[in-house]
Amino acid sequence: MDPPLLQARGLFFGHGPRPLLGGIDLDLPAGSRTVLLGDNGAGKSTLLRLLQGALPPHGGWVKLEGRPLRGQRRRVALLPQSAPLAWHYPIDLLGLVALGADGDRQCGLAALRQVGLEALARRAIGQLSGGQRQGALIARALAQNADVLLLDEPLAALDAPSRHRLGALLRLLSARGTAILLTLHGERPESLGPVRQLVLRQGRLRPESFFC
């Protein structure tokens, strides 16, 4: 049997008797949509950073298609809650997305088409709305050939129509084989469709549940 696209075993992070993450096992199959819930400070963002390799774990490992993450981190895109991106930078949307494909604008345009932002290709990134910025970062991740999307609170600060659009986009991407893990605080948009739900509490993932 093929291994899951992204696989984590025994992920441990923190010190002392109550570590932030105390041995996380997680599988993200291709085309899956997973929502990670948990209180503030539960370690959701840390877990996402560990899964992308942005943070080295104190124990355990993460593999992509059964191989160590090192050397293939660009296939796992992490979109932080507030991406520390210089939005005032003089570049248009297509230029930003094409950077994900090492400057290949054709590839960038294809990624923009996937997320439905093709019409804004020439717009300066400083003029994009919050929802469009999320879409831009997802397009850049797609342009860099990401197979796994890790989104930290992607719906925060989005209005209802933008939440709906982003939910539909994530559903479309997962239907094309992208594994998606997102953290949420509020309600998920219906357009996201059925998801697997995980709860992070006291450093451990609680038993999984599904809802439609």
Binding site: L85, A86, Y89, P90, L99, G103, R140
Partner: protein, 274 residues
């Protein structure tokens, strides 16, 4: 009627032209990377290195480069433990800047060296020689080469360094190369505009090029270089005609440039908000 500018003035004009191209090209990258303060530190920190190298009969270029880079390393190590975004790192950087300048002046006094502080700080094109021109041409060639071969990586560095690291793009060597090149440009521009005034030529043309809201870095770089060339050679020519020091005149010429841009930026911003 005698021509006001004869061959005697050719070298100063060439120097100002090459300086007017080099500083804005690198300056645009530095402004976009938010490294103007660090560059300012480098400019002042060149002084003690130049003085010490003169005392030891070594190359001022080498002394200036080492001194500039050393000061940046010192400032970064002293601010490493300060809370991010608190402004304390900036305060540390400015303290190191002042201390470097002070150290340079003290060394001149203590070692009783025949150093012309005025020409070091404010430039003196009339005493510059062909070696200064060659050094500036070398700096220009390196800056152009960097922009040609590393433009995408430079954009990552300025736009989203964390994102670049997540892609396992190694930006460390590029960061170090950029720091070394900045020190080289600052030292090589000393003859034209001096350590104290080089920042005007690094910043103002870049700001002028950025003011129009363009989204192409290549076009912005070309425009910055053109503005820098005009400001630099225009000021130099005027200084020669009016018998004024070229460095300070170049720096002063940058101020009206900013005032014109302020209007342009306001227009662009209002267009964006529509």
């Amino acid at each position: 009627m005698a021509m006001p500018l004869g061959p005697f003035w050719l070298l100063p004009l060439l120097l100002s032209a090459v300086c007017g191209l080099t500083c804005p090209l690198l300056g645009t990258v530095l402004v976009l990377r938010r490294r103007v303060q660090t560059t300012n530190l480098m400019a002042y920190a060149v002084l003690p290195g130049v003085v010490i190298s003169q005392a030891l009969d070594l190359s001022p270029l080498l002394g200036g480069l080492l001194s500039a880079l050393g000061s940046v390393l010192l400032a970064e190590s002293l601010s490493a433990t300060r809370p991010e975004g608190s402004g304390q790192a900036e305060a540390v950087l400015n303290t190191v800047l002042a201390a470097s300048l002070g150290l340079g002046v003290l060394l001149v006094q203590a070692l009783a060296l025949p150093v012309d502080l005025d020409s070091l700080l404010f430039g003196d094109l009339l005493v510059a020689g062909p070696a200064d021109l060659l050094l500036l041409l070398l700096a220009l060639a390196l800056v152009v080469a960097l922009l040609c071969w590393q433009l995408t990586q430079l954009e990552w560095l300025a736009l989203d360094p964390e994102g670049a690291e997540a892609r396992e793009s190694s930006l460390g060597p590029l960061r170090r190369l950029l720091a070394a090149l900045t020190a080289l440009v600052v030292v090589s521009a000393t003859a034209a505009v001096g350590l104290a005034l080089v920042m005007a030529l690094i910043c103002a043309p870049s700001l002028a090029a950025l003011a129009r809201g363009d989204t192409s870095l290549r076009r912005i770089l070309r425009r910055a270089a053109l503005v820098g060339l005009v400001v630099s050679t225009g000021s130099c020519g005027l200084a020669l005609l009016l018998n004024l020091p070229p460095g300070p005149l170049m720096a002063c010429a940058c101020l009206p440039l900013l005032m014109v841009q302020a209007r342009e930026v306001a227009v662009t911003a209002s267009e964006d908000s529509l």
